[in-house]
């Protein structure tokens, strides 16, 4: 086992203890607080999805909110159909739609909904990725193209009122019915459902990071051309991580709809996409775990502060982002790494004064 893998697993274990035991205890098992926290957990999944492509492969996807929105709407469509029973969803009537649109029909099935919530984002994300990466587009152009897609996609969703509910989104949803469990989103068990999803997503992310696939992506991030000369089809690798990242974002979106009990086109806004980038940057984009922690911390802070400083919150968030980019480019995770190194070097020096200097050199290397 490599040192990196050891640290990541230890971090995951610590994180799991905090989320599974610490948080519910701290919240006094209060259903309302737990629901709020479950929202952060869903957002943590979309942040780690971005970390996979941005930190892991150097591809800044500013369209992450679009794939998040697709998952969110997939779940909302299912729950809206459930709430409407045999009738047409209410907003369709208001928009003079007289028959259930074809695209809605399969969402009666929960299994289809869950699969579509993962695969539709993956497919759309993959489609954009194929065109971009076959043409060897890289760097800031990836950010521009994905951003343009997001803006266009949100416009279409708002435009197509009869199908999407337009500006209002999809509201008045039924609770989710799982086999033998009618999900109450204000409950400890729902909190654990969200926590379980996040843990699974982090584990998946860590596996990808530590697989040879993750290694090749890091190689591509550093020098895509060189990696081609080793025989790797760089475009395919980049497309694959875009698909995986989009599927995870869709998953987060589905969970988010469950927590908030509605889906809104604001989930597909530029500002939401930028917020995901900020969470990722604050936590540390190089690590899926750090990105998840970043999302939770920033949202926790927002929850506490935006009540007090309603107007100033966005400004504070913006300033935080600028400061992070300038002084902490690797986020809290990078800061932690730097501090450990500093501490170890200090300790090594002190030890070095007493014992043989070769000992010092060795400790230094094992970091």
């Amino acid at each position: 086992m490599t040192t990196r893998l050891f640290y990541d697993l230890a971090g995951l274990a610590l994180f799991a203890v905090v989320i599974v035991l610490g948080v519910p205890a701290l919240m006094g098992f209060d259903a309302f607080e737990l629901n709020t926290f479950a929202r952060y957990l869903a957002l943590a999944i979309v942040a780690l999805a971005l970390a996979l492509s941005w930190g892991g492969a150097g591809l800044l996807n500013l369209g992450q909110a679009a794939t998040f929105g697709m998952g969110s709407y997939a779940m909302a469509m299912h729950l809206k159909l459930k709430a409407s029973g045999d009738a047409l969803p209410d907003f369709m009537g208001w928009n003079n739609v007289s028959e259930l649109p074809l695209i809605w029909v399969p969402f009666h099935s929960l299994a289809f909904t869950l699969i579509a919530g993962l695969l539709v984002p993956a497919f759309i994300g993959g489609l954009i990725a194929i065109f971009m990466f076959r043409a060897r587009i890289a760097g800031v152009f990836v950010a521009i193209i994905t951003l343009a897609f997001l803006v266009a996609f949100q416009l279409v969703v708002i435009e197509q009122q009869g199908i999407t509910g337009g500006q209002n989104g999809l509201t008045g949803l039924a609770p989710l019915e799982l086999p033998g469990w009618s999900v109450d989103t204000y409950s400890l068990s729902f909190y654990y459902l969200a926590a379980g999803c996040l843990m699974l997503a982090i584990t998946l992310g860590l596996y990808i990071t530590h697989s040879k696939f993750g290694l090749i992506l890091r190689a591509i991030r550093e020098d895509a051309d060189r990696t081609r000369f080793f025989g790797y089809n760089v475009a395919n690798y980049q497309t694959a991580i875009f698909c995986i990242s989009a599927a995870l974002a869709g998953w987060a979106g589905m969970l988010y709809t469950l927590v908030l009990e509605f889906a809104s086109p604001t989930y597909m806004s530029v500002s939401f996409s930028l917020a995901i980038v900020i969470w990722c940057a604050v936590g540390g984009r190089d690590s899926v775990l750090a990105a998840a922690v970043g999302a939770i911390l920033v949202n926790l802070l927002e929850g506490k502060l935006s009540d007090i400083y309603v107007e100033g919150w966005n400004l504070m968030l913006g300033v935080t982002f600028v400061l992070v980019v300038m002084f902490m480019p690797r986020g809290l995770h990078g800061l932690l790494g730097d501090l450990t190194n500093l501490f170890r070097r200090g300790a090594g020096k002190r030890r070095g004064n007493r014992s043989a200097p070769t000992q010092t050199a060795k400790t230094g290397q094992e970091l």
Partner: protein
């Protein structure tokens, strides 16, 4: 029969014809040294063979397959490996990780997704020993010295295990001892690999070359053994005239 056959290869950069009707072949297991004054088109020739540059005309056949229109990663998969003139290791990856990337027999996504990044590490041990980096496996490549970086690159070529290896000035900046060690490694490599080496160091060329071709202004100037080349009047003029 040639392992690699280049025929009437041409490339234009704007108005400049950097490679102009070049024809030569390399036999399997041979070490061919490519000489010529600066700007003769040696690096460009290697670029054309490995796919970094697309030719304007002519053909490159490797193991009897035309490869001159393929993507670079397809040529690499067929067994063409390249060392560039400027050292190009992955500075953010460790030595072992660099080798894991280079070890690319199965470059597909599925294979990569079902392996951990450090799998196959024991296979790197003998390679690292060969280049003297066995104690540095977990060092980040950006922290290696200049010499170590060059050894790592050679180790990566060995790990990649291409049947045809293209080397651009592999001994530039090396000490005499390091150059001798490199020559020795190349002689061992040539038992199972074909090598094309661009090199200025004549004593190195004398030790490793089975055959030499000399380029000037993008075209073939002379071809033969080291003694033939050293006696060649055209070669003398080309070098002195520069």
């Amino acid at each position: 029969m040639s392992h690699l056959q280049v025929t009437d290869l041409r490339v234009d950069f704007g108005g400049l014809r950097a490679v102009d009707g070049l024809t030569f072949g390399v036999k399997k297991g041979e070490i061919l040294c490519l000489l010529g004054p600066n700007g003769a088109g040696k690096s460009t020739t290697l670029d054309l063979i490995c796919g970094k540059t697309q030719p304007t005309g002519g053909s490159v056949r490797f193991e009897d397959v035309e490869i001159s229109r393929m993507f670079e990663f397809e040529r690499a998969r067929r067994g063409v490996g390249r060392k560039f003139q400027v050292p190009s290791v992955y500075k953010e990856l460790t030595v072992a990780e660099n080798l894991a990337v280079a070890q690319s027999r199965k470059p597909g996504i599925w294979h990569a997704l079902t392996r951990l990044s450090h799998s196959g590490r024991d296979r790197f041990e003998p390679i690292l020993e060969k280049v003297g980096l066995e104690k540095r496996a977990d060092v980040v490549a950006g922290n290696l010295s200049h010499g170590e970086t060059q050894w790592l690159e050679i180790a990566m070529l060995i790990a990649q295990d291409s049947r045809l290896i293209l080397m651009d000035e592999p001994t530039a900046g090396m000490t005499i001892q390091e150059t001798a060690r490199t020559a020795e490694i190349f002689r061992t490599l040539s038992k199972s690999h074909t090598l094309i080496v661009v090199e200025h160091d004549m004593s190195f060329v004398r030790t490793v070359a089975d055959r030499i071709i000399v380029m000037n202004r993008g075209a073939l100037l002379a071809e033969g053994s080291i003694t033939e080349i050293e006696a060649n009047e055209d070669v003398k003029t080309a070098y002195l005239g520069h």
